[in-house]
Each structure stands twice: as structure tokens, then as C-alpha cells.
């Protein structure tokens, strides 16, 4: 913060060309911001209209009567066609909530929450174990592991998805929650690097004191290092969780019969817009936005500061 460009609280004096440039850019930013925000406001307003009112020409005005059913119908349940047009049978989660042959956003929420929690916790935990050991211990192959992790980050390899799917099918995990959980529980990825940087720079004083008092390696890691890393872990968890929550690709391949929200929303959109139920589509979109906006409001500083300081540097 101390490096931030500030000239106290004094008024910033700009030359005329600078004022003009600033004015033009400000106007452009304003227009861009409006294009980002206004469509969502429009969608929100229209999500309360009946199809008759919407198609009757009231596209820009406020709804004459609020149709809350757009939300309740979506939330409770709606028959959703599968990827191949077939109706998806209910899942274990569906059965728990008494569903028969329909999917509801509520069920998708449950799946999404479970998937996000499980994947985030496992990924962060295994990234912490691997990065801690590589950063703090000297052992044979340490440098190789670090270099390999860098190589994986830099080099894009296209075309391996079919064999990944074949492997998952061979393991019997081509359509399962556990399969996706397993895939995301990796210990060498972006989180590895960010935690490696943290553990590399952290002082070993506390750990050494604990070792003198007889604490073992496991005790030091769980009782000293992990609590010290808690702020980093929370930040990375929030950012990673948003990624998992919004991930469409993996569930669309490996969780076809148990879609979480990001994938299920696509199925809902295709089904509803195919029937011309636009206002219900808008309601579905709005429902999907609520949790992610709530998380953003709660953690906006954490998310933005970590994105800024994420170290995107060559």
C-alpha cells in the first residue's frame, strides 16, 4: 500500500489534455459498466413477468403483476432434458428430496455445495502438504518435483481429454461425484505455487521451538504451520471454490446424471428457451447468481486483493 501512487489528500492538478483524456476514458468506462450491469437489472425485472406479458410487448417496463411462480417452479422442480434429449432420472440426492423424474435448482444447489466443499478442501489440503514439504525439507527429487510442477503450468498439452475420459471409464468413475472429487484433489497446481511461496518465506522459529519441546513433524505441520497459513488458505479456498462452483466442463463430462448448478443451468436454459419460457430462464439465472454474489460481497476484498497480488509475473 505504501507504494501506491498517492499525493496525500491534496487535489490532483491535471493539464487540459490530461483532463480531456481522463474525461473520454471515464465516459468509456461508464458505458462499459452499464453494459455489464444493465442487462442483469433488465433480466431481474423481466424474471417477474408472465410469459404473456413479456411476449405481449412489455419488454422494457416494470411487471404489471409480480409472477413469483417463475422462481418457485424453477426452485421446486422442472423436467430437464439430458444431453441427448432424454429425461434425466433422479439421483441419490434427488431421492433424498423425494424427486421422481425431475431436477430442481434446489437439488443442483445441494450437489454444487457438496462438490465445491469437497473439492476445495481436498485440493487445498494436498496442495498444502506437498508445498510445505517441497518448501521446507531437503530431499532427493525435491528440485525435480518443483521443476515438473512449473513445466505443467507453462506447457499447454491439448488432446489428452479423451484418454482422461477413458481412464475414468476404466476406473468406473465416468459418471460419479467421487470421480470429479478425485480429479480435483490434486496437489500440484496453481495453489501449490502460491502456498509454496508462503511456506518458503515463513519463519521457522515457532517450528524450531516446538521441535525443541518434543513436537514431531506432523504436530508441527498441523498445529503450527497450518494455523499460520490460515489467512492464505482462506483466500485461496475462496478463489478456488468460485472456480469449482462455476466449472462447467468437468461435470458436463463426468457428472451427467448428477449435474451441479453450473452445468445444470445450461440444461435448464436449453429446455426453457426451447419452450419459449424466457421469463423462467431469467428467474433461473437470477437464482444461480445469488450465492456467488453473496460470496463476493462477503469476501470481495479478499478475492480482489488476491487476484491483484496473485503474482501473475513472468
Amino acid at each position: 500500500m505504501k507504494n501506491r501512487y498517492k499525493i496525500g489528500k491534496q487535489k490532483i492538478i491535471r493539464s487540459t489534455p490530461q483532463k480531456i483524456a481522463m474525461g473520454i476514458v471515464f465516459a468509456l468506462f461508464l458505458i462499459y459498466s452499464v453494459t455489464l450491469v444493465f442487462p442483469f437489472v433488465w433480466m431481474f425485472v423481466n424474471s417477474f413477468k408472465s410469459p404473456a406479458e413479456f411476449f405481449g410487448g412489455n419488454i422494457w417496463g416494470f411487471p404489471k403483476t409480480l409472477r413469483i411462480a417463475n422462481y418457485s417452479e424453477i426452485f421446486v422442480g422442472l423436467p430437464v432434458g439430458g444431453a441427448d434429449g432424454a429425461v434425466i432420472e433422479t439421483t441419490v440426492v434427488g431421492k433424498l428430496f423425494g424427486a421422481t423424474h425431475k431436477y430442481s435448482i434446489f437439488e443442483m444447489f445441494i450437489v454444487s455445495i457438496a462438490l465445491t466443499l469437497a473439492c476445495t478442501m481436498s485440493n487445498i489440503f494436498f496442495s498444502a502438504t506437498s508445498s510445505y514439504v517441497v518448501a521446507k525439507y531437503r530431499f532427493f527429487g525435491r528440485q525435480f518435483i518443483y521443476s515438473l510442477a512449473i513445466f505443467l503450468m507453462i506447457v499447454p498439452i491439448a488432446g489428452t481429454l479423451p484418454e482422461q475420459y477413458a481412464l475414468m471409464r476404466w476406473l468406473g468413475l465416468e459418471d460419479s461425484f467421487f470421480g470429479v472429487f478425485l480429479m480435483f484433489s490434486a496437489g500440484f497446481g496453481m495453489n501449490f505455487f502460491l502456498m509454496y511461496g508462503f511456506f518458503k518465506n515463513i519463519s521457522t522459529t515457532y517450528a524450531e521451538a516446538a521441535r525443541v519441546d518434543g513436537a514431531g513433524h506432523i504436530m508441527v505441520f498441523f498445529k503450527i504451520m497450518l494455523p499460520l497459513a490460515l489467512p492464505v488458505i482462506v483466500s485461496l479456498s475462496v478463489i478456488y471454490a468460485i472456480g469449482i462452483w462455476n466449472d462447467y466442463t468437468t461435470p458436463s463430462i463426468y457428472m451427467k446424471s448428477m449435474p451441479p448448478l453450473a452445468y445444470g443451468l445450461f440444461l435448464i436454459r436449453e429446455t426453457l428457451t426451447g419452450k419459449g419460457a424466457y421469463t423462467q430462464t431469467f428467474a433461473a439465472m437470477m437464482i444461480a447468481l445469488v450465492p456467488i454474489l453473496a460470496v463476493f460481497v462477503a469476501f470481495s476484498n479478499t478475492i480482489m486483493e488476491n487476484t491483484i497480488a496473485g503474482g501473475l509475473k513472468g
Binding site: 453494459t35 455489464l36 506437498s130 499447454p156 479423451p162 490434486a186 496437489g187 513472468g314
Partner: protein, 314 residues
Amino acid sequence: MEGTSAVKRRKTRRKSIYETGFIILMLAYPVIHFIVFWGIVNFNSILRTFQRYVMWQDGKLVNSWVWAGLDNYKNVWTSFSRADTRRIIGNSLGYMVVSNFISLPLAIISSYFLFKKMPFAKWFRVIFFLPSIIPIVVLATVFRFQFDARFGLVNGFLNILGIDSPSWFGVYPNSQRMIYLYCIWAGLGFNVLLLSGAISRLPVDLFEYSHLEGTPYVKEFFRIVIPLIWPTITTTFLLGLTSVFGVMLQPMMIMPGDANTQTIALKIYNSVRTANETARPEIIAFGLLLSVMAMPFIIAIRFGMEKIYADVEF
């Protein structure tokens, strides 16, 4: 004395065994995960490109893989002269051009102005960041609705001005251009945030001197900002290069099922969704061959960009 040193040695050995055990314990799962989900998958992918799938042989159902030499690579090479393959590669390269030569410069300029104490800069940052956390299905749907022939905001605005709306998504290459536009619209904010983070880390003294001397914005931008945030620009540029192999959700969400707007990654993804065993080796060869062809370019560009300005650490 001898006794004491023997006890010490035993203790050291015990400590060493315990430490080794701890390292193995901490790395076991991440390493096994890496071997299974990266090592085996990549090995199998390479192996598969030298094989072909045989379902029937001499009137019998065999369902086996047989050696095919370089046939798959030859077929892929031949396919490069076909219009559909060229279109796929062209579309994919287009994302790199859009990302690196339109979106990135816009983001650098925007970040600079946000840094220069633009009014409401904090609000702009938050609004610009929103697309990064919103599910792509929602974002793409919002974007499409803005250009909808009947209800779209853009068409409505053009109608007010008495301008006929073109067929935004109806014909190629208009549809492809619209997807590129979506990428700029949705992706600009994230880059702005990353780059404004890099600018805010620069030493404040430089800007204070520059301000006192009345340096114009253009000069300050090209002489101070660009050279000092060059490492971040390089990394963002390299990420833009890898988009050639990574972009698939954007065309899938905006133009679902449209063959004209396919990309390399989408072609591979669709092959998995259709689970076509016979086509699998060729699809993998297609991805791997393009990755191998691109690798020298990526390394050369990285090397070249690093030479332009000296590396700086802020």
C-alpha cells in the same frame, strides 16, 4: 565418548527415518494422483496416437487396439488442408489475436487510467471484476439476449436510431465475431484488475517526479509504466497464446451445436461427449501435433519478450 557418539548416530538415523517417513506421507497422495491423472493419461494419449481401433476382424467382433504406425498423424496432417480443419484452427488462433492484440492493450490502458485517480475507480474495479465470478452460462445468456432480434437491448437501441439490425448470430463469420466480442466484453475486467495490481506495486516516487515535471500521460505510460510492468504483460500475453488450445466454452455457450464456430478444444471435447472410439486416436493426434507445433513458438515468444525490457522486481 564412543558410546555417546553411537547413541547420537542412532538418534540421528532414527530422526532421519522419521523425517523421510513424514516426507513420503505428505507427498504420497499428490504424487500418486499426478502419476495417475497426468502421467498415465499423457502416456496413454501418446501411445493411442500410434494405434487404431478395430471392432470387427474376419467377421468377428474383436473390439481391440492394433498398431497403426504414423497413420493417425498422416491423416491429421492431410486434414490441415481441409476447409473445416482450417476453420477450426483459424477460429482458435483468432482468440489469441483478440486476447493479445485487442483485449490486452485495452486492459493496459484502462488499468493506467484507473491508477491515475479516476473518479469512482474503486467502483469500476468491482464492476469490471464481476464477469470473472459469474457462471459462464449466465454471462453468455445475458450477452446473447442483448443482441436478440426480438427482445435485445442493442437491437432496440438501433431501432430507436432507425438502423436495421444485422443478423448477429445467424451467419458465419458474424457469429464468430460475436463470440470474439463476448470474449472482450467478459474478459477485459479480469485483465484490468491484474494489470492495475501490477501498476499499483510500482514505486510511488517515479510518479511523483513525473507529476512534478508535468510529464504527459502518453510519455509516462510508454516510458515508465510499460517497461516496469513488462513481466506481467509477458505472462498475460503467454496466457493469451495458450487460449488457442483452451477456448471452448465461449463458442459452446453462445452458439451451441454450431460446427462453424468450433475450436480445437471444443472439437476434442465434443469427441469425448460422443464417445467415438474409432475417432479417438486421430483426435488425440490432432491435439498433440498442434501442441508440439506451437511449443517452439511459445518458448520463442517468451524468450523474445523477456529480452525487450530488463526484468524488474516490484
